[in-house]
Subunit: 546 residues, 2 copies
């Protein structure tokens, strides 16, 4: 229709308004699909997602149109189309045999609650568009703060709902959480003082001049998450000023090496603005020695941040939370609820030990975020954002500490079980043991294991490197093939194991977060990998011929 | 239960696993609520949200617990609780009479689709956890790019799905979009060159030294969004280096003043790294002269960003898109789909004219975001994030250009109608006319209007100021009272109208985005405001006694 034709426009307008006023019919395509999803999510995903992987280039052919379609479409037609083009070729992230990612099966109740959240369409940037969602979010941050720092009742009464202060910030994910923490750390080390109005107002050049530093640096394990580099770039600290500290044979940062590096930087007049401890590295799941890092941070008088985006959920286990001991000494802690807390994607948090910590990034605006208001937007990196905190709130209440105790303990114990299974298997090598619920391993036929051992005994590092290169190829082959078969999925990464002279080594990586992953499934994953290995006609034959 | 009691743990574990395996019963509290919501969203919200406003301090009493509950809870109990504590005291953002925000009624189909999105739980950071969602998101960005820049078929065939390039970035919202654009602008102006590895790697100090600048600056209208200040802080440019340029009597930036400011900065050896045009200011809805800004950016050889977070949706109207002419000359453009594109909260975008623009912020990581992959995470600020692009995709396809044409045109024309209504009303003053669908006004009794006019004629600016101060108080009273009554809602802000010597003036602010807002509702809003004015016993009597 053209806008010149009022009568036609009126008719179209009426039919258009129906999408806002007339609910989906219970017998419509979309409603039927929704019912299936509500009644049996696993079945829906299992039936809707194609088992065999389609190459990305083929999937892309369905997403070539670059013009927004002129004509409106029926919801049912659109639904049919995305079931074929989109849903069928998405990833079954909640399948119990898909153990390569940090996603998991979701509890059923989050589905209707998510729909309610969308229907309410609150905007958490300010009270006026969120009302009760604001105290709810503050409560979630308070509960997570208590889980991490365990302050007393008086503390939470004073701070949890205090305007101009915050126990943390809700974020879309761990990356924004880490950026927020380092933003605060930078602004504190280069804070307003005398005539100087602070780095936030005057910028980096004047800040460094005022304080007389030649540069800033952030120290973190070589296993630190890539979001830290992103933060250093964004914050004008520079990626090269993320100083990567070696790890020990357990993939934990070497605190003495970090101390040495920090002292060397100080001598060059480079201010160490923060050290970051990793509580659950993305590649090996290792936890840095947080107590020792806290001591070092105190020595250096710098911010101590802990990136527990993935590992932080383990605090919910009374049995295993000791693995994160020292986390309560951190100035700030990142925890993603969408990783091991069984909340859907989009729920990151950064927690602040000191409720006044975020003052240094506070900002206000006239029509919005008035000074003294309880608007959450005054102390967050993001502006408008949805009420995701509601889903974390729901999980904390419905699952409860006792529920999480079981879920987390089972995950950790399942990882230990799988590690045993791998070690007991003739043809597999456990590369990193699970400290939390993440481990790495690879397929190494028994004969090759013996060859490797012998080569190491004889210091024949050339042979070791040759064998490992072939194994890298085989690991890639198996991982890719297994993914394409669509029955199960492990991810792969490259790490530098101490036992192989820190050479880059490709390994399978497994995260055992899904409560529905059974021991049988784990055994089958290994069986399938063994079978796939025999299919390779490039690396496998060479390895067997060694 | 304790983890020492295996038998009990097993029983609890079985009941716990049910939340992952047993769907919500169709007769459960949550299912019944979900049905109501699906069958009549407006009715559900109208019935569930309390009409009368409860003070925030009272709402907070329901969110005092700071310990995660020990015991799991029944979903039905939790649901009952949040219906009373949370939903009842949230904001009815989609009510047709709530015209104070940029939110609107949502089309019904986004509810089941959101649920599907949550159930699929894809993570867009990389292909491995998103598959078809990645090409879908690239297509959405391509379509929005085409809407904005209108390149030819060849262009989109070449770039839309090209690894290592991007036509834009999907973000949680406009703030992250604006930060991303300015991050790119900063990294381009301080790019790698010769021995220098770029600001992203070496940091700001070395970058400014290398290029020989004393500082950076960003120029924007005094009406620029607060997220730009946040970006300047985060990026170490400094909030004070956001140079605020005055606006003309139509609230559009004065380009000559901006040119003068830029030349003065250049003379101080301060590099103007970007100028920002606003296409729909948050407070007055005005659009800067984008063509002229593009010319200035070319003269200054700097990045030209357009913040069209709210106004960008108007490009969907063939009738009115001319209001944004010049936007196609911008290097980057921010558009929020969750504002006037009828998508739920959490869907921001930044578009790049040049598909290679984002190279300067690209980053990679070993286990994830491999070089040459099509992982979206390589060129975004955020890491893990949900498949929100699906909801934008759905709206673009189901509403189509013809549908958006009607929706946008109606919004703009409704705003013009409301402006007329205000101007024709004896006791109201239109403060800023709607250029798009946002306007500001205030209640000024006819007798006071005459007094004001007289005072201005006699250059009695003291009297003008006195009257305006009283009017400010009255406007605040009316706005707050109307909000508390819960029948309708307009927001308020403070602007500096040219006609009142640029004095800060409190005004009502109205955004006419909701297709369900009728002419009758608009008339009622004015009637209600007139009635509330008489209730004020502080400012109103003083004004009438003038």
């Amino acid at each position: 229709m053209t806008s010149n034709s009022p009568r036609q426009a009126d008719a179209s307008e009426q039919s258009l308004l129906r999408i806002f006023t007339v609910p989906e019919d219970a017998n419509s395509t979309l409603s039927i699909i929704e019912q299936k999803l509500s009644q049996d999510l696993a079945g829906f995903l299992g039936n809707s997602i194609a088992a065999l992987e389609k190459p990305l280039s083929e999937i892309e052919t369905d997403f070539q149109a670059f013009e927004i379609p002129a004509k409106p479409r029926f919801v049912s037609d659109y639904t049919d189309e995305i079931m074929q083009n989109l849903v069928a070729h998405s990833v079954h992230t909640s399948a119990p045999s898909f153990i390569g990612h940090m996603t998991s099966a979701l509890p059923y109740f989050v589905l209707p609650l998510s729909k309610m959240m969308v229907g309410l369409n609150q905007n958490l940037v300010k009270i006026e568009t969120s009302k009760a969602f604001t105290p709810l979010e503050r409560q979630v941050l308070g509960m997570m703060h208590h889980l991490t720092y365990g302050q007393d009742q008086h503390f939470y009464q004073q701070w949890m709902h205090s305007a101009n202060n915050s126990l943390g910030a809700f974020c879309s994910g761990g990356t924004v959480a880490n950026i927020t923490a380092l933003w605060i750390a930078r602004n504190r080390v280069l804070k307003a003082d005398g005539d100087f109005k602070g780095v936030g107002r005057e910028g980096m050049l004047k800040a460094l001049r005022y304080y007389g530093y030649d540069d800033l640096a952030i120290l973190v394990s070589e296993r630190g998450h890539y979001s830290l580099g992103k933060a250093a770039d964004l914050l004008s600290i520079g990626r090269d000023n993320i100083v990567s500290i070696p790890t020990d044979e357990n993939n934990k940062v070497d605190v003495n090496a970090m101390r040495t590096a920090a002292l060397a930087l100080q001598q060059q007049n480079i201010k160490v603005m923060a050290i970051v401890g990793v509580a659950g590295t993305t590649e090996t799941g290792s936890v840095d020695p947080l107590n020792e890092l806290a001591i070092l941070a105190a020595e250096l008088d710098c911010h101590f941040h802990v990136d527990a985006a993935w590992g932080g959920a383990s605090l919910l286990s009374n049995k295993y939370r000791h693995l994160l001991k020292g986390i309560e000494l951190a100035d700030s802690v990142t925890i993603d609820a969408h990783k091991q807390m069984y909340v859907p994607m989009g729920a990151g948090m950064v927690l602040f030990k000191d409720p006044e910590l975020a003052h240094t990034i506070a900002h206000h605006a006239e029509y919005i975020l008035r000074v003294g208001s309880k608007d959450l937007g005054t102390q967050t990196l993001e502006g408008s954002r949805p009420g995701m905190a509601m889903l974390v709130h729901a999980c904390l209440q419905i699952i409860g500490r006792e529920g999480y105790e079981i879920l987390i303990n089972n995950s950790l114990e399942k990882a230990r079980y799988f590690a045993q299974l791998i070690e007991q298997h003739y043809d597999f090598e456990l590369v990193t043991s699970p400290e939390l619920c993440l481990l790495t391993y690879r397929y190494v036929p028994k004969s090759v294991q013996l060859k490797l051992k012998e080569a190491i005994t004889h210091n024949d590092f050339t042979l070791v490197a040759t064998i490992n290169e072939l194994l890298d190829g085989l690991t890639q082959f198996i991982q890719k093939h297994q993914r394409e078969q669509g029955k199960s999925f492990v991810s792969r990464t490259r790490i530098r194991p101490a036992r192989y002279q820190r050479q880059h080594t490709t390994v399978f990586r497994v995260v055992l977060a899904n409560p529905l992953t059974s021991h049988e499934i784990l055994a089958e994953v290994l069986t399938e990998q063994t079978e796939i290995a025999q299919l390779d006609n490039e690396f496998y034959p060479q390895l067997m011929a060694l």
